[in-house]
């Protein structure tokens, strides 16, 4: 069954573009990553799903329920983490969680306590006394504590230290194992490729790619740094290799970008003495660059 379905979803803020003609289907039980640079339209899409904002045209459904007509039913079955989380400053974590729990039919108190423990949150401190990361943890806990069928998380790991990012990924994986759907937005590919099976890439309000993580990584441009023993190859020798671009030679160190398969490059390096090869995690922008070249972005 379909967990989330967008059909020609369009949102304008007055004249300002939010998102344009989004078509997307996320299956139940799937972890879906929604990737895009700042201002791409991730938050706009997510807030439409919860009926916080209304589409200009097109539609969004969650678990087969229409985002406008059945919004209360949707919100009863969804856990939501806002992209810019704000909690009531004068309340304690415990009071916030109790309040939010009472706004729905109830939560799983044992699971809430477990989450408090795993995220190392002290529940009796006031929100205003918490650090940004600790507030974010409270936001994550409230999204998960009622074990919702669908989790909609807008940049969940922003502000978290690596350890807590790890806990977040684990909790997401557990939700998936329980058959729940996770829809999360992010700027960074490494995070999404860890936990999501499929990603959608949005840019300037348009969905320019929906792809499995594997395929995307295949095609992604990788930034590579090679140290050669003497003699290093000349830039023009490397630039001719299929998929290789942006070659930059500095002494015995060569930096270059490879799109798609690494095979032609590796084969071409055989005659040379290679001391080390370092590959860098692909920044999201690089994927966009590649999509640009392929002419997929109408922008």
């Amino acid at each position: 069954m379909t967990a989330i379905l967008l059909e020609r979803l369009t949102k304008f803020y007055g004249k300002a573009r939010g998102v344009l003609d989004l078509d997307l289907e996320v299956a139940e039980g799937e972890v879906f990553g929604f990737l895009g640079p700042n201002g791409a339209g991730k938050t706009t899409t997510i807030r439409t799903l919860l009926d916080l904002i209304r589409p200009t045209s097109g539609s969004a459904t969650v678990l087969g329920l229409d985002s406008r007509r059945d919004s209360v039913a949707i919100r009863a079955r969804v856990g939501y983490l806002p992209g810019e989380l704000s909690l009531w400053e004068t309340m304690t974590t415990r009071q916030v969680l109790d309040h939010l729990g009472s706004l729905r039919r109830g939560i799983d108190p044992a699971y809430r306590d477990e989450l408090l423990e795993r995220f190392d949150v002290e529940p009796d401190r006031k929100i205003k006394d918490l650090s940004t990361g600790n507030k974010q943890k409270v936001g994550i806990i409230q999204a998960f504590m009622h074990r919702p069928e669908v989790l909609i998380l807008d940049e969940p790991t922003v502000g978290l230290d690596p350890l807590m990012q790890q806990v977040t990924y684990e909790v997401i994986e557990e939700a998936q194992r329980a058959g729940h759907t996770v829809f999360l937005s992010s700027h960074v590919l490494p995070e999404v490729e860890r936990i999501a099976r499929r990603v959608g890439i949005i840019r300037s309000g348009k969905l320019i790619e929906v792809e499995s993580v594997e395929n995307l990584k295949e095609r992604a441009v990788k930034l590579i740094e090679i140290r050669f023993g003497f003699p290093a190859p000349r830039a023009e020798n490397l630039a001719g290799i299929p998929g290789v671009t942006d070659v930059y030679v500095s002494g015995d160190v060569v930096q270059l970008k490879v799109g798609g398969s690494m095979d032609p490059l590796v084969k071409a390096l055989v005659p040379y003495e290679v001391l080390s090869i370092r590959t860098h995690e692909t920044p999201l922008e690089e994927i966009f660059l590649e999509l640009y070249r392929n002419g997929n972005d109408a922008n």
Binding site: L50, I53, V72, Y80, P82, L87, R104, R105
Partner: protein
């Protein structure tokens, strides 16, 4: 699940409500005790008699009320100005803070991502505002009844209650107006600006009404007229006028619901 927003709102306003309660009780008691100094000072009354009619109106002394009588004194010092001001500031601030304020802070996003309808949310905010205002009204009545006899005032519960209720309803009209503007726009500045400007404007009009003949009749379209004319402290509550105030409050609350349902949040 039922009235969570109502309780949460009141709990988060708790400290402010306590502060306002202390201020209301102190101010009312201070005004009542000051009566001792004015009681029997006929010269004071003679001086006020020289003032133009609109000054007397603004001072709550129209229609031959004497400032040295308990009713005239309380009307001129408390019911015609101080108490309306307390209710207005408290209720307008409450409404701005708890609707447009929550939206501006972003906490609205989280609350309304839960299975709560927008209608219910606004109505619970309205109920919380009304109940908080009632707390101040009840304290005002109780303080009057407790301190009045000590200052030699010969008024009773029914006069105190009637006059306070009338003034409270004026405040509630502007509180509900604030809520309606905040619900429709989400803007702190807009809701605060529109409602305070209208409140001040209406108050001045109420004061000027006897002076400007062109205002005859129009002055009846004024919440201050509905709540202050009489005045209730001597004439008792004006049932028709109070019903009118209640109707306006209900209409504004309905407008708040309608405005809040329709629009995008946090934009």
């Amino acid at each position: 699940m039922r009235t969570e927003t109502f309780y949460r709102t009141l709990r988060n306003r708790r400290r402010s409500l306590i502060g306002w309660s202390i201020a209301t009780v102190s101010l009312v008691a201070l005004i009542v005790f000051s009566y001792v100094a004015i009681k029997g000072q006929q010269s004071y009354q003679d001086m006020l008699d020289q003032y133009p009619e609109f000054v007397q109106q603004i001072l709550g002394l129209s229609g031959g009320l004497s400032i040295i009588s308990p009713a005239g004194y309380l009307n001129s010092q408390l019911f015609a100005n101080t108490l309306p001001l307390i209710f207005l500031i408290f209720l307008i601030a409450f409404a701005v803070r708890e609707t447009a304020g929550e939206e501006g802070d972003g906490t609205l996003d989280l609350a309304l991502a839960h299975p709560v309808t927008r209608e219910r949310f606004v109505l619970e905010k309205f109920a919380a505002m009304t109940v908080a205002g009632c707390v101040l009204a009840v304290l005002s009545v109780v303080t009057l009844a407790a301190t009045g006899p000590m200052a030699g005032m010969d008024l009773g519960w029914s006069q105190y209650t009637g006059a306070t209720l009338s003034v409270f309803l004026i405040g509630l009209v502007f509180g509900a107006l604030t809520l309606a503007v905040a619900a429709a726009t989400g803007s702190r500045a807009m809701s605060l600006g529109v409602s305070s400007a209208l409140a001040v404007g209406m108050f001045v009009l109420w004061g000027l009404a006897p002076l400007i003949s062109g205002l005859k009749g129009v002055d009846r379209l004024n919440p201050f007229f509905w709540g202050l004319a009489g005045p209730p402290i001597t004439e008792g509550i004006q049932v028709g006028n109070l019903l009118l105030l209640v109707v306006v409050v209900v209409v504004l609350a309905a407008a708040a619901v309608a405005g809040f349902r329709r629009r995008d949040l946090g934009v």
